[in-house]
């Protein structure tokens, strides 16, 4: 597989193909629509959360099988609890005002949403650029820093069979969705 990972042109093509399938699925899930995302954030319909949790369960179980065998590598993100809370809350505010997130807005554009293309996408690009200009200062003033959770995955700490940990956790997440179904949202 490594020689395929290093083939840049092939990887660009694979990125495009994976993106096409991802976009197709997002649209079929309805999350390329402002109304569906806001219905989630207003706690009226939990489709967004159901899609995310199911995707997490399947990916996590796949990693549990393939990672210990060395068939895949994992890439836990750098950062810190502080960055996640500050940035995450800010992201959430923008998410609710805009009504799309960086992935679903690309899907919204494909779905025909002009507000996503002209307002939202340009906004995200501007916001990202503003952050790049602030980055050095934020880092110097320690507003942004890495802590000991940076680039850490619990998969790296597991002893023995990963499923011992991930299967019960998957059941907990499935239980959350079962509750949502019972409540009827």
């Amino acid at each position: 597989m490594e020689k395929y990972h290093e083939n840049k042109k092939l990887q660009l093509l694979l990125g495009l193909v994976i993106g096409i399938v991802f976009g197709f699925l997002l649209q079929k899930g309805g999350v390329t629509k402002y109304d569906v995302i806001l219905a989630q954030l207003r706690l009226m319909d939990f489709a967004v959360l159901k899609i995310m949790l199911t995707a997490v369960i399947v990916t996590m179980l796949g990693i549990s099988y393939l990672y210990p065998k060395g068939k895949i590598q994992i890439h836990p993100k750098s950062g810190s609890l502080k960055n996640s809370v500050i940035g995450g809350l800010m992201f959430g505010v923008g998410f609710a005002i805009l009504g799309y997130c960086p992935g679903t807005i690309a899907g919204a554009v494909g779905n025909g949403y002009i507000d996503g293309l002209t307002g939202g996408m340009i906004g995200i690009i501007i916001g990202s650029g503003i952050f790049a200009s602030m980055y050095s200062t934020l880092k110097k003033k320690k507003w942004i820093e890495d802590d000991h959770f940076s680039e850490v995955s619990l998969f790296q700490r597991m002893k023995g069979n990963s499923f011992k940990y991930t299967l019960p956790f998957a059941l907990v997440l499935a239980g959350v969705m079962a509750v949502l179904e019972v409540v009827g949202v």
């Binding site: 093509l13 096409i20 197709f24 489709a47 505010v93 923008g94 609710a96 939202g120 952050f131």
Partner: protein
């Protein structure tokens, strides 16, 4: 072909297929699905036209090289894939103002455009601050059992739910 022309699939089917796609991406491209990094790269590519040296000297752009890579292609693919799905099911529609927005606020485009732009700017800064988005942290990072990703994903929803509830109670 019937299923491809359906407007909506069960969220569980969609989620499970996204999960399988994510594993495939890890295997064949050694990359988990993520979206927000593309926007910082595009911002760098645009700024390079006007301020080449400034971008080259910028510490953040030297980590997130402004170039077309796997992730940028992925986001382009998402536009195409969504268009295909929507066209097949007859769900494609040019929309200026989403329905839920129009019925609560205004049917005219300009106020919606300005809020989308403002929301996008805040979201863009937040995504970079947290180091990822709903896909990168919420799906990929969470499934890799990263603590920073679980905390980020929870913060996305806490911030989002509070803001949405305030927005629609005005």
């Amino acid at each position: 072909m019937g299923i491809f022309t359906e407007t909506q699939w069960s969220p569980y089917v969609v989620g499970a297929l996204i999960g399988l796609l994510n594993i495939l991406a890890l295997r064949i491209s050694n990359k988990p699905i993520s979206a927000s990094t593309t926007y910082i790269k595009v911002s760098g590519m645009i700024r390079k036209i006007f301020q080449r040296e400034k971008v080259q000297r910028n510490e953040y752009y030297s980590q997130k090289t402004p170039e077309v890579d796997w992730g940028v292609m992925l986001v382009i693919g998402v536009v195409i894939g969504s268009f295909l799905s929507a066209t097949l099911s007859g769900d494609f529609q040019l929309t200026l103002v989403p329905e839920m927005w129009a019925s609560n606020f205004s049917e005219s485009f300009f106020p919606r455009f300005i809020t989308a732009l403002m929301g996008g700017i805040i979201l863009g800064i937040g995504a970079r601050w947290a180091g990822g988005c709903t896909s990168g942290h919420g799906i990929s990072g969470a499934s890799q059992l990263s603590i920073v990703s679980w905390v980020a994903a929870a913060s996305f929803f806490i911030g989002g739910i509070i803001t949405a509830l305030i927005k629609y109670s005005l």
